[in-house]
Symmetry: C2
Subunit: 377 residues, 2 copies
């Protein structure tokens, strides 16, 4: 095999167990576990983790083909909660690793995110969250008091959400191979009979609702990030949304699709749904709630608030006839007080999201490439 | 609060969101996400992740109190598979993060471990593994071909084990904050009615069985670790053991306790069971199978093979009357061909493991501190 990497051994060869039995020059694992310079797109870049087009590419081109060679119903759910049968029960399962930097920010910490993020993924499938697992990757030298504080936040968030952390794992990596604490949580929840929520349920004419102002989480985290520090009163919106979803379901309305617009923000979420539901989406741009402080911070940083992560907001697609009932129920819940209808689905320009501006013109809302906000959750 | 860390800001203060709103000197998250020198045991050290006494201390003193302030049945299971009720089904849940270094080694890779390790945790609870989640933390700059190869191994191992990877997550961290790829898998399995396996079932007089030679995995990984390279024909024993467990259960014997001796090896596993089951354990030292190549490598490295990790072996505690049947069933299975009875439980020296040596003397088998083999899985 020709060496495709003139500056070092071929990583593929190094991964092959056969050459590893040969103690000769290939036996230098450091050459492929160490960072290497970007080279013709053949390496992982930060944008692969940011929830935009690059993330989607990585999942579609690399992850799914390897893990799911014969795509079926279950496999489509990669990246969201999977809904599966377990001994006759309809169960939602979701996993998320949290690598947010810094570990604490106005309004929350990685401990809160690790609970709320996974609980929300279950809630977006209409599931009642029941159990969480918690796996830590600790960096050698991290203060045990930091670990304690993160776990205290995590435990408190779990109790607030009414979920039990039932099992866990702890690994330690050397200084320089981690960043304090990385947390993975995986959640298991129960989907009630008759509840069917998912992008395949979206219909043209569905009304698009957002549960409150967008962009708070991303701006709160960036405001305390090294190299970016700025003064803001914006706090992360991190919250567990299953109570809000239960209130929405209690109206009896047929909720078609729910999604929490985390990495990649509202823009990524709308694009994903437009594509997976095969509908066009038109958003009334002035109707989308953005706090002035968030808008100002985004203007300062050159960010689009529609692409900034949220951790306690949801986007709902509901039949037009039920929209008012659902909005009323949401506004009666503390986490949906700012709910508004922001647009609707169309059977035109399927797969594409457009925004109607205050001037009455329309613009295409692109799937963000995703590199603008690394490690936001 | 006095500054307990004269060389830098108090990490606890930095984790508090309130001071983070103050842009003054506390606003340097790098000071607590960066490694700091060891200081009076108040920081994470590599041994906290190695499955020995330090790991147990971290879990008992830090993790469990934060996540489970009112210890109950479920909470005791932290670190193993939890067995819970989900909509009337008895479900086992287990999570594990994999940070093995290097990513590939004779006999397997992090992709194999990530499947087999979690499948085995479910199998040790007597569960039929059904579903896995897969969450990746990728280091910026890692070759996409390395990612592809790891995922190919992971997918192949899942297919061999008959489990579906149903959902996933991908995060990316900057160069110098990861090590190529870290993988978390969480597994969900179904426990058949009537199956009750766990340390609380262990009884004095139970026979202790190991399924084959121990220490292969740890030696295989160390043989290709940078700084340690040595020539060996030992290959990792990584394998999914639920088929072997099913064969054992099919004998109709009452299997009391099962455990896969991973981090911390046989010594840690026996100690954990002696403590949690409140029995004494006596092992016939010459009966414990260790390959000569493993024994030689351990002698060279100053390691005790009983403390070296395994990834495809199990330890079973079964009633004496059923031991022969169980051994026969194990030996008829490819993954249990080397099964042997190595000792028994006693109602003396409860909580303590002793080994009877070839000379007829006894020695106490200590819980390893755990620092000898970092990042072995």
């Amino acid at each position: 095999m020709p060496d495709r990497h003139p500056t070092g051994p071929d990583p593929a060869a190094l991964l092959d167990p056969a050459p590893l039995l040969d103690p000769a020059p290939l036996l230098d694992p450091a050459t492929w576990s160490c960072p290497v310079p970007l080279r013709e797109g053949a390496v992982v870049v930060m944008g692969h983790g940011a929830g935009g087009a690059l993330s989607a590419e990585l999942i579609d081109d690399v992850v799914v083909p390897a893990l799911a060679p014969d795509p079926g119903a279950v496999l489509r759910s990669l990246g969201d909660a999977a809904v599966v049968d377990v001994g006759g029960a309809t169960v939602a399962i979701s996993t998320d690793s949290f690598v947010v930097r810094p570990l604490a920010f106005p309004g929350g910490s990685i401990g809160d995110l690790a609970v709320n993020g996974t609980v929300n993924d279950l809630a977006m499938a209409g599931a009642q969250p029941l159990y969480l697992t918690c796996a830590l990757i600790l960096e050698e030298g991290t203060g045990l008091d930091v670990v304690e504080r993160v776990l205290a936040d995590l435990g408190a968030a779990a109790r607030r959400a009414g979920v039990s952390v039932v099992t866990g794992d702890t690994k330690v990596v050397e200084s320089g191979h981690g960043d304090g604490i990385y947390v993975n949580t995986t959640g298991v929840g129960l989907v009630a009979p008759g509840v069917r929520i998912g992008p395949q349920q979206t219909r043209p004419d569905d009304v698009v609702i957002v549960s409150g102002p967008i962009g708070d989480h991303g701006v709160a985290v960036l405001s305390v990030r090294d190299g970016l520090l700025f003064d803001t009163q914006v706090r992360s919106d991190t919250a567990a949304l299953h109570g809000l979803v239960a209130a929405m379901l209690a109206t009896g309305a047929e909720i078609h699709t729910l999604r929490d617009p985390t990495r990649g923000g509202l823009a990524a979420t709308l694009n994903e749904i437009a594509r997976s539901s095969d509908v066009g989406i038109e958003i009334d741009e002035p109707a989308v709630p953005v706090r002035p402080a968030v808008a100002n911070a985004c203007a300062m940083l050159g960010l689009d608030p529609w692409s900034v992560a949220n951790e306690g907001r949801l986007v709902a697609f509901v039949p037009a006839a039920a929209a008012e009932d659902v909005l009323d129920a949401m506004r009666a819940h503390p986490l949906g007080a700012g709910a508004v209808a922001v647009g609707r689905c169309l059977d035109r320009h399927r797969g594409t999201v457009v925004a109607r501006t205050a001037l009455g013109t329309t613009r295409i809302v692109d799937l963000p490439q995703g590199e603008q906000l690394p490690r936001i959750c």
